[in-house]
């Protein structure tokens, strides 16, 4: 793939705008609240688009196209089962607690609801996870640019990290969120022409259906048995593992996305943020998954385009989207396509860094090191955390480049930590008897349960490091099972310990649990401004999409 002068000009124009946003937002940043929380003054349409854009990183844009090529339209489960219901739950049931408690972060909510040790556990693991995720995103960006454009690995890392650092340091969270929205439009408009032209060449959806195996174009028909579909996952595992544990665990408790709703102007806007975000989210498979199906169908029908082959002889599915962009886009649009890929990596990285600096400043530094310093001091700490967050991300990117297996291991361990979190939140918000000791030890038990499940079972040559009791049909089925075991262990442990420890009084829990929160304050009168009717519309449309691609 060769870029022309105009393509480089488009990339430069994009860099100019992202840096410009940081420069102009800078004059509005005066306090730590401005820098880390956007002063809770961001309009609803921006928080909604930022909510999904923060998740629209490299793993989604490149990874979902790859999964589309490998697994077909079943990949849409990651949206229609694995995201939308959880986003609805967050908007309708959980945002009132997050926003109403005035907590500045998810770990801070845990401190208010439970205790400091539960907050500390969540804050430290989350801070580490965001740094490693940011570093992996950076590594993936540099690797991709080296592969498809021949750009120098080191230069790619330094330029991308430098730009994210500059605009995040200048304008804080507002700058990152504004850039995420710009990046969202760029990603959609930069990739959509590939889908349009690809569909035109293959003969529309019917052309894809005619040229691929039926299992690639049905989302539910082959879910009865794990052996019947390429994911190797059955319907129960999909619904419980992805649709409940992993999905709700991520969308309802991960501060990276929840933060975008928490900076809305008021409770109503905070609740509607994930609900409005659900509309574009449900149609994202058209942009990020369809290219994968298109390239496989084109390979089958015309042979005009070919996925690269890896050293082991298998297809390099991660190259599905870049290959199509290189195949179709002329000079000009090629610059837009490459800029869209750059935007997706930078969006993911900035999202992680801004969540990291908030959690570090409020939940680690202010809580455990300097509880009563001035606001100017916390503003400085927030900025320092941003710089160190980026530096650690760069270091992580180089570690990933040297030891791929270490990154796999880290992601696995963090998966163990993340999976049980939703059980803690679910019980904490809906059962006032849940205690701080129970929440903490429930999380620890859930994490150990996940590790034990991984050690006792295996799939695709991974796991079974204690001894192998069971063999799963795929790595995905394995990870769903680990999540289910982890969640269940945390859920049961938390209930049992709660029954033997002292709960907080009703006065202490007011506004933090469902039964002790006033829900009569809804002021909106128009139906589309109310969370419940919006939620029903979202769920109805999602059901319709599932039926269309059944």
């Amino acid at each position: 793939m060769q870029l022309g002068f105009i393509d480089y000009g488009i990339i430069a124009l994009y860099f100019l705008f992202v840096l410009g946003i940081g420069y102009f937002i800078k004059r509005k940043v005066k306090t730590s609240n401005d820098f880390l929380m956007s002063n809770r003054s961001v309009p609803l349409w921006i928080t909604s688009l930022a909510f999904i854009a923060a998740n629209l990183g490299a793993q989604e844009v490149i990874g979902m196209a790859a999964s589309g090529a490998k697994y077909g339209i079943m990949t849409s489960h990651f949206y229609w089962i694995g995201a939308i219901p959880a986003m609805v739950f967050l908007g309708v049931f959980m945002m009132p607690f997050y926003y109403g408690s005035r907590a500045r972060s998810v770990p801070e909510y845990l401190a208010l609801r439970f205790d400091e040790k539960t907050r500390g556990f969540n804050a430290v693991t989350f801070a580490l996870m965001t740094i490693f995720s940011s570093g992996i995103s950076l590594y993936a960006l540099a690797s991709l640019l080296e592969t498809i454009l021949g750009w120098d690995f080191d230069s790619s890392i330094l330029i991308a990290a430098g730009i994210v650092l500059t605009y995040t340091l200048l304008g804080g969270l507002t700058s990152a969120v504004y850039n995420e929205v710009l990046q969202f439009f760029l990603i959609v408009l930069g990739i959509a022409p590939v889908v349009f032209v690809g569909l035109y060449e293959i003969g529309g959806w019917n052309g894809i259906v005619q040229n691929l195996q039926p299992v690639m174009t049905s989302s539910w028909k082959y879910m009865g048995k794990a052996e019947s579909n390429p994911m190797g996952v059955n319907i129960w595992s999909m619904a419980m593992g992805l649709g409940f544990v992993l999905s709700f665990g991520y969308w309802c408790t991960d501060f990276l996305v929840v933060q975008r709703a928490m900076i809305a102007r008021n409770m109503s806007a905070a609740q509607r943020t994930p609900l409005i975000a659900a509309f574009p989210k449900m149609f994202m498979p058209l942009v990020v998954i369809l290219p994968g199906l298109i390239i496989m169908a084109l390979m089958q029908k015309l042979g005009s385009v070919q996925l690269p082959i890896k050293a082991d002889g298998s297809y390099d599915y991660n190259m599905a989207l870049p290959t199509l962009i290189g195949h179709y886009y002329p000079t000009g649009l090629l610059g837009v396509g490459i800029t869209a890929l750059l935007a997706s990596f930078m969006s993911g990285m900035a999202g992680n860094v801004t969540a990291f600096n908030t959690v570090f400043t409020f939940d680690i530094y202010q809580s455990y090191f300097r509880p009563k310093a001035t606001d100017a001091h916390y503003l400085s700490v927030g900025k320092m955390a941003t710089i160190f967050g980026i530096l650690f991300s760069i270091a992580t990117a180089y570690v990933a480049a040297q030891f791929n297996n270490i990154m796999d291991l880290l992601q696995l361990v963090f998966g163990f930590v993340n999976a049980p979190l939703f059980a803690t939140f679910f019980l904490g918000m809906f059962w006032k008897r849940t205690t701080g000791h129970a929440a903490f030890w429930g999380l620890v038990a859930g994490t150990l349960g996940a590790a034990a499940c991984h050690g006792l079972t295996e799939a695709e040559g991974k796991g079974g490091w204690l001894f192998s009791m069971h063999q799963f049909s795929s790595g995905m089925a394995h990870s769903f099972a680990i999540a289910i075991v982890s969640w269940s262990t945390c859920f049961l442990t938390t209930i049992v310990i709660s029954l033997f420890t002292r709960a907080k009084s009703d006065t202490e829990l007011r506004g933090l649990v469902y039964s002790l929160t006033d829900r009569s304050s809804e002021t909106e009168t128009i139906w589309y401004r109310k969370p419940v009717p919006l939620a029903l519309l979202v769920l109805g449309l999602t059901l319709l999409l599932n039926l269309i691609f059944i």
């Binding site: 124009l13 994009y14 002329p330 649009l333």
Partner: protein, 64 residues
């Protein structure tokens, strides 16, 4: 120039896509060798230009 406009995201997005769209339309008409390339650049550019102008119009119609 009113620099406060640059803190209105509608204006920033509008300006970015108006410039990008215009650039692609021009490239589509004067720089591309094949009909397919011409159509791709021109049509994509037109869509971006429309989005950009719409966002600019919104930012002027209802200023912050």
């Amino acid at each position: 120039m009113d620099f406060d406009r640059f803190t209105d995201l509608r204006f920033v997005i509008g300006l970015f896509f108006a410039i990008l769209g215009l650039l692609l339309v021009i490239v589509g008409f004067v720089y591309t060798p094949t009909m397919a390339a011409h159509l791709l650049n021109a049509c994509s550019g037109a869509v971006m230009l429309v989005l950009g102008l719409f966002m600019l119009w919104l930012s002027y119609k209802r200023p912050l």
